[in-house]
Amino acid sequence: MGRLLVETQALRKSYLTGAGALEVLHGVDFSLEEGEFAAVMGPSGSGKSTFMNILGCLDTATSGVYRLLGDPVSDLGPDELAVRRNRFLGFVFQGYNLLPKSDLLENVALPLLYARVPSHERRRRAMEQLAKVGLADFAHRLPGQVSGGQQQRAAVARALVGRPSLILADEPTGNLDSQTSDEIMGLFIGLNGEGSSIILVTHEPDVAACAKRLVRFLDGRLVEDSAVAERRTLPPATDPAANPAGG
């Protein structure tokens, strides 16, 4: 197998509330290798979102170890975490989270701005990613001028543009109808086929069934970690020409 991307040991997270410390993660051991595609499932309050936030370097654990590409990140400050998010991670959110007043091209190019990539290079690479998700013709539309599925594809392009080691998707199909969901999942399967490593949080068994590995959380503990028995296959993303390596 590939190299170890993510490794956590005895990861704990607690929040201080009025009623005392509330522990939401009770020691999670998890690891993910390059090229894996894991789906994280679990009911609300199971701690999966907190877990994802820590993996995404958006939050830090109260105790335990988290290594990203072998490098411990538990004690890093906000700016060092920002650099790691920018360099190694790509995010896809449930609500797309595109900047409403910037067109799709600018949205996709944004991570490269913070990576200090020169302007023409930013545009070239953003355009390349938009073409890959079948949105070349929509580059100069604002997010409000395209469909939800197209917005989510632009968000995937934005997650990919910095050539991250790991893509973290938080309920990427939560706001989409089933057909558009399948489109997006087709895109993810394709990306994984090309070698991208993906961790995806979802409520929907159908969506989870697209992954290769299933991780289940309950009450702040990792209770199941298994290979997906019957993996769903989906047609590649809507525009096969735009996604030649689609699954």
Binding site: N53, G56, L58, D59, P78, D79, A82, V83, R85, N86, R87, F91, F93, N97, L98, L99, K101, S102, L110, P111, L113, Y114, A115, R116, S119, R158, G162
Partner: protein, 407 residues
């Protein structure tokens, strides 16, 4: 990087045009008021300065002393203690540029069919240098005129117009009292004095001619008043001290406690105090205008705080995809500075337009100094940085998870 952020700041400004323009208006008014007030203050200062300079700068007036008999003191210049020899001795002092005795009287001038009452000054050949008042047409008074008590007269432009109208006065005869004088020159125009008197309504004759033909003084060779011009760049107080010392020695005032029998005053002191008053007015006006500038700055801060709250989610997205705190800080600071500097530049134009309007319709002189322009620009930049910092710092300190959750 900075260019991309600059473009984003421009877009953010454009996205809320009304709000941006209103915020800018605060800066426009503030900077405009500062420019206008400083222009009015500076204009006043220049007017005062010009008026004092019209008298001639670095000039001393030496008056013959008052007499004091039985406790009744007359005004200065009543006792003829100054002599022409005193004038020559002062001229020899280091630091003294020119000296002239001065006498004057209001006399009737007659030329052809016209007559006119004007102030006639008797002075030496140093007069034009001391008063910085050259001859515009004809010849300057020279030592020979004074030596021979020539019956030559120099007219101010207004007096000349009253006596000769459009005719050429040079070489014409003007009778002063009963003595005929020949017009040797026309003095250049000096305009109004500080008290509003027309300085060009005057005539000038050699000092010797004045005492011989016009004054009939019983004290030949004595003068009531000397005007002394110091050389450029010398210390006025030092020259005054030298003159006092010299005159006391010449007048044999040995007792160090004894009063001077002369009186020296200094126009530069008048000018200094007048300028100081005008300067104080400029400062006061500037201070009042600065208040509106500060209010403009607070307006920017207010709007930036609203903007940071409104755009919390945007900040969260930027942080999530790798923006560092300083990137967010720079972005919001740039927006604040852009608003304040654009407002400042517009205010500069408005202030200049206002100053022009004031000078045109209120007949007040205004003067916009490059300093006030540079100051306003720098201050508006500073206001953007100062009042933009807190909102930008607040934006940069957001927690990405909280910010992303913000609706």
């Amino acid at each position: 990087m900075l260019l991309a952020m600059f473009l984003e700041a421009l877009r953010a400004m454009g996205a809320n045009r009304l709000r941006t323009s209103l915020t800018m208006l605060g800066m426009v008014i503030g900077v405009g008021a500062v420019i206008l007030m400083l222009a009015v203050g500076e204009g006043t200062r220049m007017t005062v300065k010009r008026q004092v300079e019209a008298l001639g700068t670095n000039i001393f007036i030496v008056l013959a002393g008052s007499f004091n008999t039985g406790g009744v003191r007359s005004g200065s210049g009543q006792r003829q203690t100054l002599t022409l020899e005193d004038a020559d001795a002062i001229r020899a002092l280091e630091g003294v540029g020119a000296v002239t005795p001065v006498s004057f009287a209001s006399l009737q001038l007659v030329a052809g069919g016209r007559n006119w009452n004007t102030q006639v000054t008797g002075a030496g050949e140093g007069f034009s240098e001391v008063r910085s008042w050259p001859v515009a047409d004809g010849r300057e008074m020279d030592a020979l005129d004074v030596q021979q008590a020539s019956r030559s007269i120099w007219l101010g432009t207004s007096a000349s117009a009253e006596l000769f109208g459009q005719d050429d006065p040079l070489g014409q005869t003007v009778r002063v009292g009963v003595t005929p004088f020949t017009v040797a020159g026309i003095l250049s125009s000096k305009g109004q004095s500080m008290d509003g008197r027309d300085q060009d309504d005057t005539a000038l004759v050699p000092f010797s001619s004045f005492s011989r033909y016009l004054q009939g003084s019983q004290f030949q060779g004595r003068v009531r008043m000397l005007m002394v011009k110091s050389r450029d760049g010398v210390d006025m107080a030092h020259v005054q001290e030298d003159m006092t010392q010299l005159l006391r020695e010449r007048h044999r005032i040995i007792d160090p406690m004894a009063d001077n029998d002369f009186f020296i005053s200094n126009l530069s002191a008048v000018m200094d105090s007048a300028e100081a008053a005008a300067q104080a007015m400029t400062l006061l006006l500037g201070a009042i205008a600065s208040v509106s500038l500060a209010v403009g700055g607070i307006g920017i801060m207010n709007i930036m705080l609203v903007s940071v709250t409104e755009r919390t989610r945007e900040i969260g997205i930027r942080l999530a995809i790798g923006a560092r705190r300083k990137d967010i800080l720079t972005q919001f600071m740039l927006e604040a500075v852009l608003v304040s500097v654009t407002g400042g530049l517009l205010g500069l134009l408005c202030g200049a337009a206002g100053a022009w309007t004031v000078s045109r319709f209120w007949n007040t002189s205004v003067f916009i100094t490059p300093f006030s322009l540079a100051l306003s620009f720098t201050v508006s930049l500073g206001i953007g940085v100062f009042f933009g910092f807190y909102p930008a710092w607040k934006a940069a300190g957001q927690d990405p998870i909280e910010a992303l959750r913000h609706q």
